[in-house]
Symmetry: D2
Subunit: 108 residues, 4 copies
């Protein structure tokens, strides 16, 4: 991709996909109650990751500020996902933490 | 609002807000498991309602087709919400069915 | 609406719709070049307003931070729109400035 | 990615990024007027690609219908971008046509 911040955009898109997948998968687990916080943060994380990707691709002057907030949401989501043993949670936690790093680098 | 399809845009925005609120509220209910399908459809419904509002406000030539699909998602979400007695589910069901009507009118 | 921050959600949705409409209308003006900055900010403003509305309706713990950034984007967009005489720019500038006020109040 | 329709999700995300980049780049070209239709379709295309990616990652029962409409929007956007010689338009046209193929395959 010839677009600036391509790696961060990719990390955001990947994180969004894993969050969407994790939320949908959590809703099919036996113990949904235990996954409530995970689902809640997945929804928020996916949405801000998509906006961050958009702002970066558009070259927005607000992209760094948004990535900084995005990193906070990803951090919260990744920490919550990291508490659970489901594959979708572990993959999501990895994608979140990867996105935290890329967004922090971008915002710096 | 001087914008075309103002009533349908408003119904979509209202539906999106009630779906977001219903999803978040369902996650705080005792029996989250029973609300899983409701949460799942709320997430999808809120997202397509927002895109439909965007397409209408932009005067997109694809707005009618999107509103037609949006009506289907709202219908599914409204029917699921209608099965539950929680206030947030009932309000969400009303907002969904209102949006079904507006989107069908728009798509016709 | 029984949802928290209902006025700010409404201001965000209204602002998003006017930004979408303004961007589409600017693209039909004779002098598109002069409207480039307006279109650019309209796109960014509409998108963050929609995410802010979502975060508030979901009761997100990050809603205040997002509304604070949203106010900055709305401010930039409203100032740019305010430079132009087209009806769609003036209406959009009003909606942006209204959203700045609501988002600042919410974020406070 | 262990998520279903991973290739189509990636094509949608890639298309969205190129559309956002193309819209922003078109606004900086000398002859913005000539690029108006391209910008207009870029905005619509990026937005529906993002929703399609979300629906697929969530395993939505409406994903095929949305991908079918997404393919139509991408086709219109790709054809318009294909009329212009700018690098960002050519890259965007390629990403759009790739997304058309993936979305049609998914919707079939």
């Amino acid at each position: 991709m010839a677009i600036n911040h391509a790696e961060c955009i990719e990390a955001c898109n990947r994180c969004a996909a894993y969050c969407d997948f994790c939320a949908a998968s959590c809703l099919q687990e036996e113990n949904t109650k235990m996954m409530a916080e995970c689902i809640r943060l997945d929804m928020q994380c996916a949405a801000i990751c998509r906006l961050a990707a958009q702002y970066m691709a558009q070259g927005s002057e607000f992209a760094a500020q948004l990535c900084s907030l995005c990193a906070e949401v990803c951090q919260a989501c990744g920490e919550e996902c990291g508490k659970h043993d489901h594959d979708h949670c572990r993959q999501c936690a990895d994608a979140c933490m990867d996105c935290v790093r890329e967004c922090r680098k971008m915002a710096a």
